[in-house]
């Protein structure tokens, strides 16, 4: 890609970017959210048309006007959110759009299955072509996505944050697969903001900041610190200084908690835990093991099926979200667009979302716009929310700034307990650093913190104690300073029992 420039009204998303990809290379594209990685890849995949610059394949300029052009040139993309049909089998998903026909009416399933087995075998993994997608683990589904591209004989694979949803074990497996693909002569563009992974897997690393290429490094000649600095534009502390914790009295006590999801499945099956003032309890676990339900029950958004919740000794089982909020519990939800913000509303309204009815923001039935604006200005400043105005809608902010907005609201004042569900999901290094520091500050000020994260590094880094959640239960409690990452990873994947084929392999 040569001199790619793409302008959107008000921003230059890509500013004269050069990127070259060699045969058999794993090339990492590193940059903060909004740096222009996605735009660049959309241009490569034909979803956007560059204002300037050209794309060359094997030295020849090509025009890519749409994804079908890209696919015809062997360029394929594996999206962060899988594009699979859950009720169909692996084989059916793989051949979709490129069906192998036995005759004009019927699919040749046997031939499709044979080719899938052969491809999988060639790259060193197993996959049952007849298994239904919905029965597969996330890691396996991702392999199906990759298989799809191989089936269409992709020469260039673009993977958008492929490890975001994987356990450490699965990440290792996908890395092995990627290395095998590279050995086979295929080229891979690996988009990520996880520095350790990029250093581990990539042959070359290109860092993008504000639409420009800031630097290119080889893993052997750089460090995490240098990459982070290139990405953010200033020195970044990758690990927060957290010092000793000084746990005080028990703030939150959960006894034998059971919670069901919307479909009535029991997702939390008997959880007992305590969080003390001045400590961070981290809950590690693969997404979907009941963490969201646990957290939603804690803040009153989901009914408790059985068990009791105590806050500072007071029974809060079954009370309303407002009552919990008024007990000074802060909550950062995993899905900030669902529970955290009203995207169409201005920052001012979002900053008083939980206190709009209280003094000084309201007097009786009347809202006090001036007090709301004053508080908003102050919080926006204190939490470094980058915005042109406090009157713009929350949806105009970047993900990191939206998250800071929620943090500004929820960390406010003398919090008893903070419930943080994936507080830094999808954020860039700079925002992560900022939010991590605030979490430590709150802990040191005596708040009890319950941190749920699918990001094992985050749990390891912040937690004073670590609990591992597996299939609705807390299967282990570990000391945050001495816990071993591999051990926690194994507990996350297996729940502590030696797991048979379940976590690793095929269904048949």
């Amino acid at each position: 890609m040569r001199g790619i420039t793409k302008r959107y009204p008000g921003v230059t998303a890509n500013d004269n970017i050069d990127l070259d990809l060699q045969r058999g290379e794993i090339h990492a594209l590193l940059g903060e959210n909004g740096a222009g990685k996605t735009t660049l890849m959309n241009i490569l995949y034909g979803l956007a048309v560059p204002d300037e610059g050209q794309i060359l394949v094997d030295g020849n300029p090509v025009r890519i006007a749409g994804p079908s052009d890209a696919i015809a040139r062997g360029i394929e993309m594996v999206h962060q959110h899988f594009m699979l049909i859950p009720v169909l089998s692996v084989a059916e998903n793989v051949v979709l759009g490129e069906e192998t026909m036995a005759n004009p009416v019927f699919l040749d399933k046997a031939e499709a299955s044979r080719r899938i087995r052969e491809l999988a075998g060639r790259f060193g993994f197993e996959l049952d072509p007849d298994a239904k997608i919905e029965s597969l683990s996330v890691g396996q589904q991702q392999r199906v996505e990759i298989l799809k591209t191989l089936y269409r004989n992709a020469q260039v694979l673009v993977l958008d944050e492929p490890t975001a949803v994987l356990t450490p074990g699965e990440t290792e497996e996908i890395f092995t697969l990627l290395r095998n693909l590279a050995k086979d002569g295929r080229s891979i563009i690996f988009i990520s903001h996880k520095l350790t992974e990029v250093l581990e897997i990539a042959d070359r690393i290109t860092v993008i900041r504000r639409g420009r290429v800031i630097g290119q490094r080889r893993p052997s000649e750089t460090t995490e610190e240098e990459l982070a600095e290139l990405m953010v534009g200033r020195a970044v502390l990758l690990t927060v200084e957290r010092g000793e914790s000084h746990p005080g009295e028990v703030r939150l006590k959960v006894e034998n908690l059971h919670v069901k999801d919307d479909r009535g499945n029991e997702m939390v099956r008997g959880v007992d835990l305590e969080v003390r003032s001045g400590e961070i309890l981290g809950i590690a676990g693969v997404a979907g093991n009941g963490q969201d339900e646990l957290v939603e029950a804690l803040v009153g958004l989901r009914r408790v099926a059985a068990g009791r919740l105590h806050l500072r000794g007071r029974d809060i089982t079954g009370v309303s979200p407002r009552a919990i909020n008024e007990a000074n519990v802060g909550y950062v939800p995993a899905d900030r667009h669902r529970f955290g913000l009203i995207l169409a509303f201005p920052l001012t309204d979002n900053l008083v979302l939980t206190s709009y009815y209280k003094q000084p923001y309201a007097r009786g039935m009347l809202r006090d716009g001036r007090a709301i604006a004053a508080a908003a200005r102050e919080k926006v400043k204190a939490y470094d929310v980058r915005t042109p105005s406090i009157e713009v809608a929350a949806q105009t902010l970047s993900g990191g700034n939206q998250q800071k907005l929620i943090v500004a609201r929820e960390f406010e004042g003398d919090t008893t307990l903070l419930v943080l569900d994936q507080p830094t999901r999808g954020l860039d290094v700079g925002s992560i650093e900022f939010i991590h520091r605030r979490i430590i500050e709150k802990r040191d000020a005596g708040t009890a913190v319950l941190l749920v994260s699918a990001e094992l590094d985050e749990v390891m880094e912040l937690s004073d104690r670590i609990a591992v959640m597996y299939r609705g239960k807390l299967v282990a409690f570990l000391d945050g300073r001495t816990a071993d990452k591999n051990e926690v990873g194994l507990l996350m994947a297996t729940g502590g029992r030696a797991a048979p084929a379940e976590a690793t392999g095929s269904a048949s």
């Binding site: 979200p321 913000l341 509303f345 809202r367």
Partner: protein
């Protein structure tokens, strides 16, 4: 400091203009396009149906007659305001519903019940002083309309039944109830067809010209009140929050179910008041064929006004003017009054198709279907039921 302030003011004016443009561009283009297509309809129907010679200036004379009939004289103006009044009141009700994410198709039924309610009360207060009788009759209309909005609200809160379905049903119930009440308990003995007694002393006083009753004042006073409710009170914030994101609203401690019942009742109250003003201000009696399209027109009015009370006011005046000018247009230009229905329908069509409109006209920075109202119509809102 002061220069920074000045700069921010300048930016503020520009931003405000852009914001106004972003909100008004789509309704404006919808209206203009409706007039253009309406012009084609005028010429085509004149040539094809009435077998007149081709006359390209006919649309201009028709629209001129329409405008003249709506604004051309004091009487025309009054008649426009009188026809605006029910559209404005009911339109505000529908708009408040849209703000809460509720698609209230029941304005028609609420309007009819408001009319019945006001007559029923007026008849009881035949011998009371006028002030008492008028107040009581208006209240009667509001309560009856509110009740007709309360029921679908309650059904939705309790069982999750979608308000689109239940309000349509309530419209039919209202029609049937109307013909029973007018032909039964409220029938003026011996009247054929069955008609209610006159509202008598409860008839609204005339302030302007021959027909400008006090309901006009009430309707225009409702605009700042609705605006104040939505944008200056905590209750209004709750209504808008539930409409914009029910999950976040629930987290904020708002009880969506209670708010749904409340909002539907307010919407019904306003539509009921529209019905009361129509009966007490204009017709004074009711018969089973008492019919109107106010309830349905008010939905278009709310959409055209982007669920903003000031926008709704402008849209209601526009629709009132078209209704007032339709007769004069037929008399003076020979174009049938039904053209107004065509134009109204075209406006609705272009509003709903605003995505296409924006693309065709290359409108940038203009808000369209993501805006309150359209979104309410296109979005299923059933999740609350399962919580």
């Amino acid at each position: 400091m002061s220069s920074a302030q000045r700069r921010s003011t300048r930016v503020g004016v520009g931003a405000a203009l852009r914001a106004v443009w972003a909100l008004t561009a789509v309704p404006l283009f919808a209206f203009v396009l409706a007039l253009v297509v309406g012009a084609i309809v005028i010429v085509a129907s004149s040539v094809l149906v009435l077998k007149n010679p081709f006359d390209p200036t006919l649309p201009i004379s028709a629209y001129a007659a329409l405008a003249n009939g709506a604004f051309g004289s004091f009487d025309a103006l009054v008649s426009t305001l009188v026809l605006t009044t029910p559209l404005l009141l009911a339109g505000l009700g529908v708009a408040i519903g849209f703000r809460a994410g509720l698609f209230n198709i029941g304005a028609q039924g609420q309007f009819l019940m408001g009319a019945v309610g006001s007559v029923a009360v007026a008849v009881q207060f035949r011998h009371a002083p006028a002030v008492v009788a008028i107040t009581a009759a208006l209240l009667g209309g509001m309560i009856a309309g509110a009740a007709w909005g309360f029921v679908p609200g309650l059904l939705k809160a309790v069982s999750g039944a979608h308000e689109v379905v239940t309000t349509i049903m309530m419209n039919y119930v209202a029609l049937a109830a109307l013909s029973w009440i007018v032909g039964g308990p409220l029938q003026q003995p011996g009247s054929v067809p069955p008609t209610t007694p006159s509202v008598g002393i409860a008839a609204l006083p005339i302030l302007l010209g021959r027909s400008g009753h006090i309901g006009i004042l009430i309707a225009f006073l409702a605009v700042p009140l609705a605006w104040f409710l939505l944008f200056r009170t905590t209750r209004g914030f709750e209504i808008r929050a539930v409409g914009a994101n029910p999950d976040a609203a629930r987290y904020a401690g708002i009880k969506p179910r209670r708010l749904i019942v409340l909002t539907m009742s307010i919407a019904g109250l306003l539509a009921g008041l529209a019905g009361a003003c129509t009966i007490l201000g204009i017709s004074h009696t009711m018969n089973p064929t008492f019919s109107t399209s106010v309830g349905f027109d008010s939905i278009t009015v709310a959409l055209l006004g982007r669920s903003n009370p000031i926008g709704v006011m402008l849209a209601a005046i526009l629709f009132g003017a078209m209704r007032a000018g339709a007769g004069p247009m037929q008399i003076n230009a020979g174009v049938p009054v039904e053209l107004v229905d065509v134009i109204q329908a075209l406006i609705l069509l272009f509003l709903i198709a605003n995505v296409v409109l924006r693309r065709l006209l290359r409108l940038r920075g203009v808000r369209g279907s993501e805006q309150t109202g359209f979104e309410t119509i296109t979005r299923s809102y059933g999740r609350e039921a399962t919580v």
